[in-house]
Symmetry: C2
Subunit: 459 residues, 2 copies
C-alpha cells in the first residue's frame, strides 16, 4: 500500500516536529550542563580527574608484564577507583582507608574461618561456613546502626561483610583462598593509593576548606541582611526596591537551606591531613556549632521578616521616627560585627573588632527599649499602633542576641585553632578604648543607655 | 631477673584494673546495643534478614551443580546481596533496579566498544579503549552532579562506569567479553531478585509507611505542645512542673531534629510498589510539603517558647486574666485541630473536624487582638507590662496561622490520596452547623469577634 501525498506530508510534519522537540530538549540539557559546570567548575575538574585515574589504573590490564603479575584480579583495582574516588580529599581518604583496612581485617578473618571449617570435612564445611557467614553478617549489619559507626565506618562495615563472605565462601570450591585474598588486598591497596595520591596532588578539593568557606559565607549572608534591613524597612513602601528586598530574603534563606551539608563536610574533613592553613587536628567540630547558631539566627530573621512584611507593620510616622535610630543602629552594628567575624574567619585572625560592634548593638537595643518606654511616646500615640513596633523591637533584640552568640562561638574557634592576632595600629588603639568601656559595664551591669555615646568609628 | 613481691602485686593490680575497665566497657557496649535494638526492633530483624539472604545466595557456591553453571561469577551474586540489601523495601528496590539496569546497559555499551576497538588492531585497541573509558567515565561522573539524577540514579551511574570499564578493559586480555558480561548480568539479576523478594516477603519495612507515620508523629508532637502550653504558661512560676515543661520542649524539638530524614524516606518511597493502604502512585511529595510546614511551625513555637521563658514575660495579674482565656482557647483549639489531622492521617480519612477547630482558634485569635485593644486594659495597666503580652500574642497568632496551613496541606493530601470520608453521625451534624458559620464568614470577612460564640463542643 502506498501512502497518499497528504499522508506523506503528515508523516514528514510529525517527523519534523519530533526532531524539533528533540533538538529543543538537547539545547535545554546543554544549557543545564553549562550552568552546572559554571556554578562550580570543580565539578568538571573532578570528572576529568576520575577519568584520568581510571585510565592510569587500567594500564595494569593493558600491558602483559603487569597483567601477568596481577591477572584477572587487576579488575579489583579498577573497581576500587570507581567506588573510592570521591569529590573531596577527605571523602576519598575516608572511603579508601575504610575499604583497605576492612578488606585486610575481614579477609584475614575469612581465611581463618575457611581453615576452621576445612577441619570438619567435606560435609561439615559448608554448614560451618554458612553459620559463620550468617553470624558475622548479622553482627556487622546491626553494628552499622550505631550512630558513631555509621558516621565514620559505614562503608568499612559493608566491605567487611563483602570480603568476609567472599573469602570464606570461595574456600569451598577453591583451596587457594590465601592467594585470592592476597591478590584482592594488594590490588585494592594499589587502587586506593592511586586514588589518594591523585586526589591530593592534582587540584585537591579539601572538605575542610569547603566547610570553612561555607561557614564564612553563611555569616556573610546574615551580615547582608542586617546591612540592608534598616535602610529597606524604614523607607515608605513606595521607596522600596522590590529587587533589593528580594536579595535580602535570598541571603538569609540560603543559610536556611544549607543545613545538612555542613554535617557531611564535617564527616569528610575529619579524615583529612593538615593542608594549607589547617592543621591535622583543626577544631572542625566548632564549625558545626557556629553553623547551628547561624541557622538559628536565620530562623529568627525569618520570624522578624514575616512580622515586618505583614500588614501589621503600619506604624505611624511618629513612632517610626522614635524607634528608627536605635533599630537602624542595632542592625548596622550587628551587621558590622558579623562582617568582622567573616573577615576574621577568612583571614584566620582574632576577631577583636567584633566585640565592640556587638557591644554597640546591645547598647542600641537598650536605647530601643528605653524609647519604647518613654512616656512621651505613650502619651502622644495611639497605644494600638505601638503593639507591632514593640513586637518588632522584641524580635530584633532576639536576633541581636543570637549574633552575639555567633561572635562568642567564633571567638572560641579562634582560640581553639590559634588564629593569629589582628594587625596592630589605629584599630587596636580604638579597641582598647572600647574594651575599657566593656570592662566598665561588666562591673556595673545596669548602667543603661549612657553607652550609646561610644563613638562608632571602628567600621 | 625475678620480680620482687611488691612488683608482682603491682603487675597483678594493674592487670586486674585493666580487666575491670575492659569488662565495664563491654557492659557499656552491651547496654548500648540493647538500647539500640529496643529503640527500633526492626534493626535486629533487618540484620537477621540480611544474614539469611546472604546464606541463601551463597548456596550457589556450595553445591557443585549450581557452581558448575555460574563458576566464579557466582561471587557477583553474593556481592550484590551485600551492596543492595537495604533497610526499607524502597531503598532495596531502588538500588537493585539501578544496579541491574546499569549493568545491562553499560555492559552492552562495553561490548560494543570492545568490538569497535578490536577493529583497530593490537596497537590501536588499548588506545581506543582508553579514550572511550576516559570519555564515558568523565561524562557519567559529571552527570552525577545533576540534582535530579543524584536523587534517583546516583548508584546506577557509578555501576555504569564500573561495568563499562570492566567489560571494555577485560576485552583487551580476554576475547570472551560477551560471556563475562552474560555471567555478570545473570548473577547480578539473580542477586537483586533474591534481595527484592526477601525484602518484600519477610517482614517488609516500607519507607512510605515510615514517612506516613513520621509525618503523623511530627504533627502529634506539635499538638502535644499546644495541649500543654496554655495550662503550663498561665500557671505562676512556682506551680510549674519542670518535668512536664521539659516534655513539651522535647516534643517540638524532636520535630526540628527530624528535618533531613523525610527527604531520604521520600526518595525511597518513590521506588515502592503499592502496599497496604498506599497505592503505587501515592502522593508522597505532599508529605514533604506537610513536613516542611511542621518544621516551620516548630521553629515558630521555638520563638514563642523563648519569649515565654525569658524574663520579659512578667505580666501583671490583670493582663494575665484578660488574655488568658483567649490564649488558652487558641492553643487548645489548635491542639485539637492538629489531633484531628493526626487521626485523619493515621486512619486515612478526610480531616473534616479540623476545619472547625482551626476556625475556632482563629476566632479566639481575633478575641485576643480585641482584648489587647480594649481601652479598659490600656487605661488601667502600666503600658510597659503590655509589651511582652502583645509580643506573645502576636507570636501565638503567627503559630496558629501555621497550623492552619498544615491543615490545608493535609486536606490536600486527603483529596490527592482519596482518603475515605469520615463516619457519619453526630459529628457531621455539628460540622454542618459550623460549616455554615464558616461560609458566612467568607461572605463577610470582617465580621469580627462575634464568632467566638460558636459552641466549642466538637472535641
Amino acid at each position: 500500500m502506498e501512502m497518499g501525498c497528504d499522508e506523506k506530508v503528515g508523516v514528514m510534519k510529525r517527523g519534523f516536529l519530533w526532531m524539533k522537540s528533540l533538538v529543543e530538549k538537547l539545547v535545554e540539557i546543554g544549557s543545564k550542563t553549562k550552568a552546572l559546570g559554571k556554578d562550580d567548575p570543580r565539578r568538571v575538574i573532578h570528572a576529568l580527574k576520575l577519568g584520568f585515574t581510571l585510565t592510569i589504573v587500567s594500564l595494569f590490564y593493558y600491558y602483559k608484564p603487569l597483567y601477568d603479575n596481577f591477572g584477572v584480579s587487576a579488575m579489583w583495582a579498577v573497581m576500587t577507583v570507581v567506588v573510592v574516588f570521591e569529590f573531596s580529599v577527605g571523602a576519598t581518604l575516608g572511603k579508601g582507608l575504610n575499604r583497605a583496612v576492612a578488606t585486610l581485617l575481614a579477609g584475614g578473618l575469612g581465611v581463618g574461618t575457611h581453615h576452621l571449617a576445612a577441619l570438619s570435612g567435606h560435609v561439615g564445611q559448608p554448614i560451618i561456613t554458612s553459620i559463620f557467614v550468617f553470624l558475622i553478617a548479622c553482627t556487622l549489619t546491626f553494628m552499622r546502626f550505631f550512630p558513631s559507626i555509621k558516621a565514620k565506618y559505614d562503608y568499612g562495615m559493608m566491605i567487611s561483610i563483602l570480603t568476609f563472605s567472599m573469602v570464606s565462601i570461595s574456600g569451598l570450591q577453591d583451596d587457594e583462598v590465601f592467594l585470592l585474598l592476597e591478590k584482592r588486598v594488594s590490588t585494592i591497596f594499589l587502587g586506593v593509593c592511586v586514588c589518594v595520591v591523585i586526589s591530593i596532588s592534582v587540584f585537591p578539593f579539601w572538605a575542610g576548606e569547603d566547610l570553612h568557606n561555607r561557614i564564612a559565607l553563611n555569616i556573610e549572608n546574615l551580615a547582608l541582611f542586617f546591612e540592608g534591613y534598616g535602610s529597606e524597612y524604614f523607607k515608605t513602601s513606595q521607596d522600596r526596591e522590590a529587587n533589593k528586598d528580594e536579595k535580602l530574603i535570598q541571603a538569609y534563606k540560603s543559610v536556611l537551606k544549607s543545613s545538612g551539608i555542613e554535617d557531611t563536610l564535617y564527616n569528610f574533613a575529619r579524615w583529612e591531613p593538615g593542608h594549607g592553613c589547617f592543621q591535622f587536628r583543626h577544631p572542625w567540630k566548632q564549625y558545626l556549632k557556629i553553623g547551628a547558631l547561624t541557622h538559628q539566627c536565620a530562623f529568627r530573621i525569618d520570624a522578624l521578616h514575616r512580622n515586618l512584611s505583614s500588614s501589621n507593620f503600619q506604624v505611624s510616622q511618629e513612632i517610626r521616627r522614635e524607634i528608627q535610630e536605635s533599630c537602624m543602629e542595632m542592625s548596622i552594628e550587628s551587621g558590622k560585627a558579623l562582617r568582622q567575624l567573616v573577615s576574621s574567619i577568612r583571614e584566620m585572625t582574632q576577631p577583636t573588632q567584633a566585640e565592640i560592634h556587638t557591644h554597640n548593638s546591645k547598647a542600641a537595643a537598650k536605647k530601643l527599649k528605653a524609647s519604647l518606654r518613654s512616656s512621651r511616646l505613650w502619651e502622644h500615640c495611639d497605644p494600638l499602633t505601638l503593639i507591632p513596633a514593640a513586637t518588632i523591637g522584641s524580635l530584633l533584640i532576639d536576633v541581636v542576641d543570637c549574633t552575639e552568640k555567633i561572635a562568642e562561638a567564633v571567638q572560641e574557634l579562634a582560640s581553639l585553632a590559634h588564629f593569629n592576632s589582628a594587625k596592630p595600629g589605629v584599630v587596636s588603639l580604638e579597641k582598647s578604648e572600647a574594651v575599657i568601656q566593656i570592662e566598665k559595664e561588666k562591673v556595673q551591669p545596669n548602667i543603661g543607655i549612657s553607652f550609646v555615646t561610644i563613638p562608632i568609628s571602628t567600621g
